[in-house]
Amino acid sequence: MTASLMGPPDPSGRFGSFGGRFVPESLVPACGELERAFAEAWGDPGFHAELDAVLRDYGGRPTPVTECRRLSERLGVRLLLKREDLAHTGSHKLNNVVGQALLARRMGKRRLVAETGAGQHGVAAATAAALFGMDCLVFMGAVDMDRQALNVFRMELLGAEVQGVESGSRTLKDAVNEALRYWVAEVEDTHYCIGSVMGPHPYPYMVREFQRVVGTEARRQCRELLGADPSWVVACVGGGSNAAGTFAGFVDSGAALVGVEAAGGAAMGHGVPGVVHGMKSFLMQDEAGQIAEAESISAGLDYPGIGPEHAHLAEVGRARYEQATDAEVLEAFALLARTEGIIPALEPAHALAWVVREAGKAIALGDTVLVTLSGRGDKDVAQVRELLS
């Protein structure tokens, strides 16, 4: 395997030809400041010690890997789940926000601003802000606020202010725009806590490093359980942070890496290269370059772009990107609940849906498959109830 894959990007923030820093001049100095602060912190054992301690004592890490005996038998493959649903706040998002909040504090910023789609990142950011005594402002598309009303209330309980976004498609991409606009005006004392491996350099790199813990733990746990690496490593992809963190642990293994997009929000599946939200990557867009609106049952995957490093992993052939439809996702959601007693979030149900579909086809019978279960499904139960009735 190529040693340079999933290392630092080049000095311009590029992974191959993707990434970069396409932001207004007003934000260029702030991105540079963040890049330097992260490089310094990430090279400081004291920072790692503090981050690891919070993730362990507060966040519940390491999360376990669970072998799915009944579902494995049914599918004819050996299925393991990396249980990010068991981390505090119910998803992998905490890994990233704790890292960014500690970094923000180190930089002397007293406020976090975040975008959120399904609300998982917003809840995590609000949690970190409460833990470290910082202010938190979360931008959320008005459509998503309706779909995820309970998470809005959670964020407010945690002391965050949630601001609805009425512009554009009123979903995740518009929440990112609004958070960026806010950041331009308040950059002096505010850190923009991006929720995925997207945005201008250094965010895609920094967020992947903060999520690397998922893959590092899982690699070790798979070896303990299997005595070897799995044949397949599968994760859902919206912006792609849980997939990036997982893949980082396995990129130098023999495992096939698979990212699963929502069929209605498939930047790799339906997109072409473009530039938005500070990065060059694959984007769903029209002939004139207007960004398309993603449409999926999962608010967390309703994003027309994808992190630039995924575009690079696809380009060099180290990872492949597949899709799951809403119907397949609902089926996998119910299947995992009935066979294993685990209700997954709709986002990782995409990864499961692909495994269910491909077991015995792309995935040979008897193969070992690790799926990152990036979050728990409590937030989605009301929506799924409506969809199934």
Binding site: S12, G20, R21, F22, V23, P24, E25, S26, L27, V28, P29, A30, S167, G168, K173, D174, N177, L180, R181, V184, A185, V187, E188, P273, G274, V275, V276, H277, G278, K280, L283, Q285, E287, A288, G289, Q290, I291
Partner: protein
């Protein structure tokens, strides 16, 4: 400047330098193309009212540096089916006596291809381009292709830009240097930010390319105030709001005439 001998000013810059030389403060109104059916008529009307150049917004779905007013105009333009090609076709027949400078986001440029987009601007008679999400480090390819096509790339200097960096940006900027008047998105403000004057001074210390200040310049008084330090102003949201509110073209042009009058008194 050391690069002066090889430096091609281009039509936009020589026009603005000439006007400045005549002792005139520069006025660059902004209009979002396609925001309403008579937008081209509005462009002609603001030229007649005393604009020295006009900034034409090519609408983009995700205008990151724009506030609610320009967002609304962009949204209206896209709802009306406005495309970059249609805007350029309209501009090629505009027949106005001052240079036109388009403003759009980089994805519109990148999707078309930098070389193709640059030549399509030149063919439409457009003299310059402002691409606000393309900072100095990312601008090389576009600046080269635009330069080859004879299109000036106007780069931005912000309140957060150091003087050393401002010098590098100014050395690369053509037409004028766009001084960002305040940290934040486009929009009207009750008062002129002190950062607007500081940015103008900072740019003037490092270049003799004309510097126009935009973002947060909404009244004749603010325009006059900032031109104590700057060569001119870009006025967008204050004009676009009037157009969104349904002001007829000549009424909107009346606002531009008011700005012109204020600048001529300085």
């Amino acid at each position: 400047m050391s690069t002066a001998p090889a430096r091609l000013e281009g039509r936009l810059e020589s026009h603005l330098r000439h006007r400045r030389h005549e002792g005139r403060k520069l006025l660059v109104p902004y209009v979002t193309a396609g925001m309403r059916p008579d937008w081209l008529h509005v462009v002609r009307a603001v030229v007649a009212a005393g604009a020295d150049a006009v900034e034409i917004g090519i609408p983009f779905s995700d205008p990151m540096i724009d506030g609610p007013i320009v967002q609304a105009a962009s949204h209206a333009a896209l709802e009306r089916g406005t495309t970059p090609a249609a805007v350029l076709e309209a501009l090629s027949g505009a027949d106005v006596e001052v240079p036109l400078c388009v403003m759009t986001y980089y994805n519109v440029v990148f999707r078309a291809g930098t070389r193709r987009f640059a030549s399509s601007l030149a063919e439409a008679g457009v003299a310059g381009a402002i691409v606000p999400d393309l900072p100095l480090e990312e601008a090389g390819e576009w600046c080269a292709d635009a330069g080859d096509a004879g299109v000036a790339t106007v780069l931005l200097v912000a309140p957060s830009t150091s003087e050393e960096r401002a010098a590098r940006i100014a050395a690369r900027s053509r037409g004028f240097v766009y001084g960002v008047g305040r940290m934040g998105v486009t929009g009207e403000r009750a008062q002129l930010a002190t950062s607007a004057l500081e940015v103008a001074r900072r740019v003037r210390r490092v270049t003799d390319v004309p510097v126009c200040i935009g973002i947060g310049i909404s009244t004749a008084e603010q325009a006059r105030e900032v031109c104590a330090e700057a060569d001119g102003v870009v006025v967008g949201s204050a004009l676009v709001r009037r157009l969104l509110d349904g002001a007829p073209a000549d009424e909107a042009a009346g606002f531009v005439a008011e700005l012109r009058h204020a600048l001529d008194e300085t």
